[in-house]
């Protein structure tokens, strides 16, 4: 038994070493840096230890802007994308002709490059000297006045960012939900039909509880993914996100490390740890809430 045990650990060792070097050590390091003031990675020196980094970051208007943007993004895109994905996959699973075609169409964004999608969105929304963009053409057609979605007011930019994020994350959710819906045993629906259950009640009382573990999985990963948003914003608004008021927390961390204002690993670490704390809290709340609503068979 003892020998068996040692063998087991031996087999796990390679994975442990890699995880240790590339995951655990950096995590611990970031935690340590976040308390070291003015850490310099070249000279490996710092002035002092303490809470100053956190205090700086929390008073930095750019960080506060990034937190606000990220929260708006999370609060809007997670429910909207999950809800829409649920509706679309319900529709997909109830049609027969052209089902495969629609499934493929809905899955296409998943295999498309983020930056390429960003380019398409530019064409749709960006105002240039020559054209107002496709969306503005539509707005004109309905009698509205044109809006600059890329360099214009805050709400317009936020709308484009949310629209873009929802569009990018939806295919994966649709894929997962369609397979979850397909795995619900048809016999439950037959039983419900014999009892004359309305379609809405079938959905609420049978379908939803049966796929609740999948929905919950999508919500948790959706929250985490949205909190880590960065590349979407870059694809739409370029790298100078602070100027565009469209920065996210991860974007702020990146800028602190490498951006124009770069070279502040201590601030970056503090911001990263704050993000970690936020995600952890939200995930714990999610888990608590889910306990009474998710049914594992």
């Amino acid at each position: 038994m003892e020998k068996q045990n040692r063998k087991g650990w031996l087999y796990l060792l390679p994975a442990f070493i890699f995880l240790g070097v590339f995951m655990i050590y950096p995590l611990v390091d970031v935690f340590v840096y976040s308390f070291e003031e003015g850490y310099n990675s070249a000279s490996q020196t710092f002035y002092d230890t303490g809470m100053y980094n956190y205090s700086y970051v929390l008073h930095d208007p750019y960080f506060l802007q990034a937190v606000k943007n990220t929260f708006i993004l999370v609060v809007i895109t997670v429910p909207v994308s999950t809800g829409l994905a649920l509706l679309i996959s319900l529709a997909l699973s109830s049609i027969r002709p052209l089902k495969e075609l629609f499934q493929t169409v809905y899955f296409l964004p998943y295999v498309t490059n983020t930056l390429a999608v960003g380019l398409v969105f530019m064409i749709l929304f960006k105002k240039t000297a020559y054209s107002d963009g496709l969306v503005n053409l539509l707005i004109h057609w309905f009698g509205g006045s044109s809006v600059d979605f890329i360099d214009g007011p805050y709400w317009a930019k936020m709308f484009v960012l949310c629209f873009y994020t929802v569009w990018v994350v939806m295919p994966f959710k649709i894929l997962i939900l369609t397979s979850a819906l397909a795995s619900v045993n048809q016999v439950y629906y037959n039983a419900a039909r014999v009892d004359g259950t309305s379609r809405f009640r079938i959905f609420r009382k049978i379908t939803l509880p049966m796929i609740s573990p999948t929905v919950f999985y999508l919500i948790i990963t959706g929250f985490i993914g949205a909190f880590k948003a960065y590349s979407d914003a870059v694809a739409l608004f370029g790298t100078n996100l602070n100027a565009a008021e469209m920065n996210t927390i991860v974007g702020y961390v990146y800028d602190m490390l490498y951006g124009d204002s770069g070279g502040y690993p201590s601030y970056a670490s503090a911001a990263a740890i704050l993000l970690f704390a936020i995600v952890l809290t939200i995930t714990c709340i999610n888990l608590l809430v889910s306990r009474s609503h998710v049914h594992y068979s």
Binding site: R193, D195, K205
Partner: protein, 367 residues
């Protein structure tokens, strides 16, 4: 509520895309099921019995024919308006709901004038639960129940709306042998108590024979015979029915009728008056053999199986379709096990003649 099936037919498009044929699951089924009876739909798998059940409950639409409940034509009604309760083979209990929630589920669907109050629902749920003796388990979830208990929840759920017709699809197939005996008694009791016309589907002839008022034997979508269990057993219309009913199964011999005498091999077994000269299949029920020292049928003795009340003599005959001839005789008989052969006489009413080509029954009279 009596149920009338008129020329009921269900065809499915063939799965094989190349051949454009159709599979006929139910073929021209006409039958009137009397009110308040327990009917067993019996047949081997794939004979169309489950399809018939689905047609009656409305989950599938017939290709042709009509279904009446009493005087109402329900052929085009959706299942919820037919007033049927259906118990599924794997019960189909909602795993995330408690027993009570499962039983009240159909009641909560009632709308408009039929809508019930909470208290009324509760009362009805408890009535149904009491009928199947489940009151103690109302707050459990299906996952925490045994197979037999789940079965009873499914029956309670089907009965709670007091349906006009109760349908059970292979109700006992997921239970172990002991529970099966118990549950089939239970089904019989519940049916007697509620007096609801009940149809159940099974491939187990034992099950069907033991509790049904009437059994319907089906083969490849075609009804073979309808009758009271004993009647069908004693008087099968063809070789298929004869073979399908009875454990141990009937012994089938290749035989010849010549001058009103049935010959099996060289043995002149029985005088069969009225049967024309021809090659036949002769079926003899296991209990149709009598040990007799000068009996006409000579068989090679293989072994004796003691079953307590009876003994089973396993022998063989070159004309028998099966490798062994199984006969069941009273244990008072003493069989000489050292002997190589055993001789039987045959009880005339336990022997049936069938046409070689069609398997149809050939009538004869015994002198």
């Amino acid at each position: 509520m009596k149920i009338v099936l008129e020329h009921l037919t269900k065809k499915f498009p063939s799965r094989n895309k190349k051949s454009r044929g159709e599979v006929i699951a139910v073929n021209d089924f006409s039958f009137e099921i009397p009110d308040g009876r327990l009917i067993g739909l019996l047949g081997p798998s794939g004979c169309g019995k489950s399809t018939t059940l689905n047609l009656i409950c409305g989950l599938q639409k017939p290709t042709g024919g009509k279904i009446f409940f009493g005087e109402d034509d329900v052929t085009d009604l959706p299942p919820e308006h037919r007033g049927v309760g259906l118990v599924f083979q794997n019960y189909a209990l909602y795993p995330h709901l408690t027993v009570k929630q499962n039983i009240t589920f159909p009641l909560e669907n009632l709308r408009g004038a039929e809508k019930l109050t909470k208290a009324e629902m509760e009362r009805r749920a408890y009535d149904a639960a009491r009928l199947v003796q489940l009151e103690e388990l109302m707050d459990r979830r299906p996952g925490e129940l045994s197979g037999g208990q789940q079965q009873r929840v499914a029956i309670a759920r089907a009965l709670v709306k007091t349906p006009r017709v109760l349908l059970l699809d292979e109700p006992l197939s997921n239970l172990d042998a002991r529970l099966r005996l118990q549950t089939r008694e239970e089904i019989r009791r519940i049916q007697k108590q509620t007096q609801i016309t009940t149809i159940f589907v099974t491939h187990d002839q034992d099950e069907a024979m033991s509790i049904s008022d009437l059994i319907v034997v089906m083969k490849e979508g075609v009804v073979q015979q309808i009758g009271m269990p004993q009647e069908v057993y004693d008087n099968p219309v063809n070789l298929f029915v004869a073979k399908f009913l009875g454990t141990p199964p009937i012994n089938v011999f290749r035989g010849t009728v010549r001058d009103g005498m049935l010959y099996i091999g060289k043995d002149a077994v029985l005088a069969v008056k009225g049967a024309a000269d021809q090659e036949v299949f002769a079926g003899i029920r296991p209990e149709g053999f009598l040990l007799q020292e000068d009996g006409p049928l000579h068989c090679a003795l293989n072994r004796i199986e003691v079953m307590g009340r009876d003994i089973s003599v396993v022998s063989s005959h070159e004309c028998c379709e099966a490798p062994a001839v199984r006969s069941i005789i009273n244990a008072e008989n003493i069989v000489d096990t050292s002997s190589k052969t055993v001789r039987f006489a045959v009880r005339p009413h336990k022997l049936f003649l069938f046409r070689k080509e069609t398997g149809e029954r050939i009538p004869f009279t015994v002198e």
